[in-house]
């Protein structure tokens, strides 16, 4: 399965042309959203909805709803016990030198033998082997 890093949701809803070419080549069931990505996007939208000025408040809450409806169009992968074991291994290896959410997503990929799709490959380069990393924004499909 291809695990989308959070900002890939952004590029999907922002109509990125290279991302579209990649998506055309796969079955949608092969694409999953890891729960850390779901949490980050919903947190962002929820905070905006809660802090919106009166002129923007209905629009901000509607966008929160639309974002949820977009997320349920993806299959969601839970961070499970196997991923937790991998996360602990990564934490022992890298101490606090790495970004925690990156480590969560990498741990899920290691536990389930998934490929992480991200533009930030440099952040994942030492967490995952090269065949478990893909950049669907800057690299065109072969």
């Amino acid at each position: 399965m291809y695990l989308r890093d959070t900002h890939l949701i952004g590029h999907y809803a922002n109509q990125h042309p290279t991302l579209m070419l990649h998506i055309q080549r796969i079955e949608w069931d092969e694409v999953g959203l890891p729960t850390p990505a779901v949490a980050e996007v919903l947190r962002g939208r929820a905070e905006f909805a809660l802090k919106a000025a009166p002129e923007q408040v209905t629009w901000a809450h509607d966008q929160l709803w639309q974002t949820y409806v977009l997320i349920v169009r993806f299959k969601v992968l839970l961070l499970d016990e196997e991923a937790k074991k991998e996360l602990k291994k990564l934490l022992r290896k890298f101490k606090s030198k790495k970004r925690y959410v990156d480590m969560m997503i990498a741990a899920m990929a290691l536990a389930g033998d998934h490929v992480v799709v991200t533009r930030n490959t440099k952040h994942f380069a030492d967490l995952l082997p090269p065949d478990q990393l893909a950049n669907w924004i800057d690299d065109s499909p072969r």
Partner: protein, 141 residues
Amino acid sequence: MTCNVIVTPRHGRYLARVAELPDCKAEAESRDQALALIEKRLEEFAKRSEIVQVKIPKLGKAERAGKRNGQTQFKTKAAKPPKLVQLPPMVLAGDKSVHLETPWEYFGIFKDDPTWMPMFEDIERRRDRQKIPTTKKRGKK
């Protein structure tokens, strides 16, 4: 009328979909056959359909005030959800009983939203700043 047709090889066949009309699709053994089929379907669709221009309601008081003050105007979706909504369930990756189609109708849904991509820049900054949480050990009382 010009439409964008997405042609995807699938299981040895070719699937043609109209990006602007997600329900309009055709599958065939070759790319050319799939394109010919989708063209025919589009012709049929165009014969029995019409394009109607709908007027949008006038700006409300608050929106007009915002425009006068030079504030950013935000677009509102034409189709509003009802006031009481049931959250659609999330589908877990292990659930083989549910097959999801590529949601092309959502591709680009927030491209005109000025807050959408900055939100992801903020998410990246928060990842940079976040410290690794540790389990606090309870001391003896």
